[in-house]
Subunit: 418 residues, 2 copies
Amino acid sequence: MPPVALRADPVSAPAPACRLESPAGARAFSVVPPAPDWVAPGVTRKIAAVLAERPATPCLVVDLDVVEANYHALRAALPEAAVYYAVKANPAPPLVARLVALGSSFDTASLPEIDLCLSLGADPARLSFGNTIKKARDIAAAHDRGVDLFAFDAEEELRKIAAHAPGARVFCRLLIDNAGAEWPLSRKFGCSPAMARDLMRLADRLGLRPVGLSFHVGSQQTDPAQWDPALEAVARLFADLRADGLAPTLVNLGGGLPTRYGRPVPEAAVYGARIRDTVARLFDTAPDLIVEPGRGLVGNAGVLETEVVLVARKDAAETRRWVYLDAGRFNGLAETEGEAIRYPIATDRDGDGAGCGPVVLAGPTCDSVDVLYDRADVHLPLSLAAGDRLRLLSTGAYTTTYASVGFNGFAPLEAHYV
Amino acid sequence: MPPVALRADPVSAPAPACRLESPAGARAFSVVPPAPDWVAPGVTRKIAAVLAERPATPCLVVDLDVVEANYHALRAALPEAAVYYAVKANPAPPLVARLVALGSSFDTASLPEIDLCLSLGADPARLSFGNTIKKARDIAAAHDRGVDLFAFDAEEELRKIAAHAPGARVFCRLLIDNAGAEWPLSRKFGCSPAMARDLMRLADRLGLRPVGLSFHVGSQQTDPAQWDPALEAVARLFADLRADGLAPTLVNLGGGLPTRYGRPVPEAAVYGARIRDTVARLFDTAPDLIVEPGRGLVGNAGVLETEVVLVARKDAAETRRWVYLDAGRFNGLAETEGEAIRYPIATDRDGDGAGCGPVVLAGPTCDSVDVLYDRADVHLPLSLAAGDRLRLLSTGAYTTTYASVGFNGFAPLEAHYV
């Protein structure tokens, strides 16, 4: 693996006054073009202006210029790849509309996501119905709307596609390991290479166009080398499929590109260089590449503003406080499950001279699993009290959509796009 | 602990054709009064009639007569206790309205839950603001609406209540162990007895009325003896508080009463008898009792109907199939997290003679954590295919409200109350 240049631009180097993780690594210039106007770690001028108005909490504020900068950076890092934004990461219409304007393609999980993209002007030819689990009638409806690219990983799914989207382009998802991912995937998606080979041949016999293969290295994948073994499996299978008389051309690299939370992550350029080198080494003819970023495009574009509802101790002798926020696992912070994703934190009291102490951070519901960080050793100002505001940084992805309809009576997460 | 009479009435003995858990234990008559009209394990005639219309899936169908029967059974089992329904378990207006009509009181977690109850005719004097985590302005708003009973477990919370609901009745929540609970609580709620004593005295000095104590033995608590150590702690603290010149009278027994999923659970009558015996043994003067059932009142009243979207194998050699449903962790089945709650399952193919085989059960989203049962060793018919319907029984509690606003574009869980 080549030396990794660590991101150290203000976009991705939120340094909360109190530590969540110690930042480490050499500073370097970012390759992100037209830089958004960062005024504090993780906070742009536009986001700061919204927060200065003291919007009702909890709320998410997303700066679309950051999304645009991320899009350009990824295009520059991997110019051969078509970018299919994973809509599920954040399906807000203003965000999707911005990406439509930039010429992005879209990875969609359901018919409602397809309809959202189309309603915002996306070309159906730029949509992939990337969920391997689709109802027959949704396949038919998508095909009616002009969508022509479908994922599959099972025979039953392939037969549904053949029956309801005759002649469509299809790609088979391979099951691979997820070492190095902070949000690794289960065995839920994909099939073995042997089964993929059989299914690609079946697709051909069913009158579909078996254009290629996909895989996913796991979300928030911090190791650029993790695409290598997957690409090697794909290259081997391409050779087998050609021996079978097929002509696969599409390599769908999936998602997994990380955003910066506590620890530094490699630049998009590092991932791009590594993937390009590997593809050049493994494939005689350059394949058509697709990449499906979600978190990598929108994660660092958002700030989730919360109010401290209560600071408590369980006993007078306990030094670790419990800090309860008005946002929790059921209204925006679902990815704190298992403390998997550790958002950087900033508060109004940072640096007030009173010092910091250890806390458990929890949400507002009566549900005991609504605890955000317990083992994470979060430290927050000793002066923190009910009514103070606290910001979770890099919360642009997978926050609004996981929010419940109203668990415990708490409304879904409000969001502002600027 | 006395011998436990196992529930074996049709309400609570769903026996799926294929095993999820082997039912066990002696059969006995249920004490549940006016029995709803059960036509199959877990399914009443009214629910069956709705399902016969093939409603769009996924959907929940709840028979309010079952809720009513559960309410009467609990009142009969523990006549000394006021029933405060934990609205968070299922805040559907028709369900809350039925309980209002029955004379129930309500345990509420937020101002929106309070407003819901009031809008359906509940008397504010019958509401408890039972969340220990409350914004000052929500305390004030609740007090303005006539709510006069508030939970607390920390000094800061107590001072908020004193400032914004002056003179209100308050009870302090104790931190206790949750042995025996299938959904145990963390240390998120409650404080030590020593701190509770200090805070009750402080409440008195702040002009509040420190009426008593509460605890929670953990949700889906299958061991009736688990209330004993908590009641012993409360009795000791009552003595201390009386020595301090206070006059506590209220013992809030919390929730935890189970519903029947796969395994038999003790009858409400068994819990009632045990708790009554323990209270009589520990308290010279009978305290005012409150019980806060959620799951125990509504769990077995609901059936969640889903459609099989895909049946797949990861490799031709694998015998365990993956069965993907149109309901998953993000649109109704959140309590399958960690496979904590195991719902009984029935399908249209049960008993079709084709036999059963092991499956992994998963939801429809592109999210890899959207897997319902993997370790649970679920067996389903070998004939099961996309388009078939599958029913999850005893899903009346904690399903609709945990549903996301639209993760992956999938709508929240639709529900029908009959």
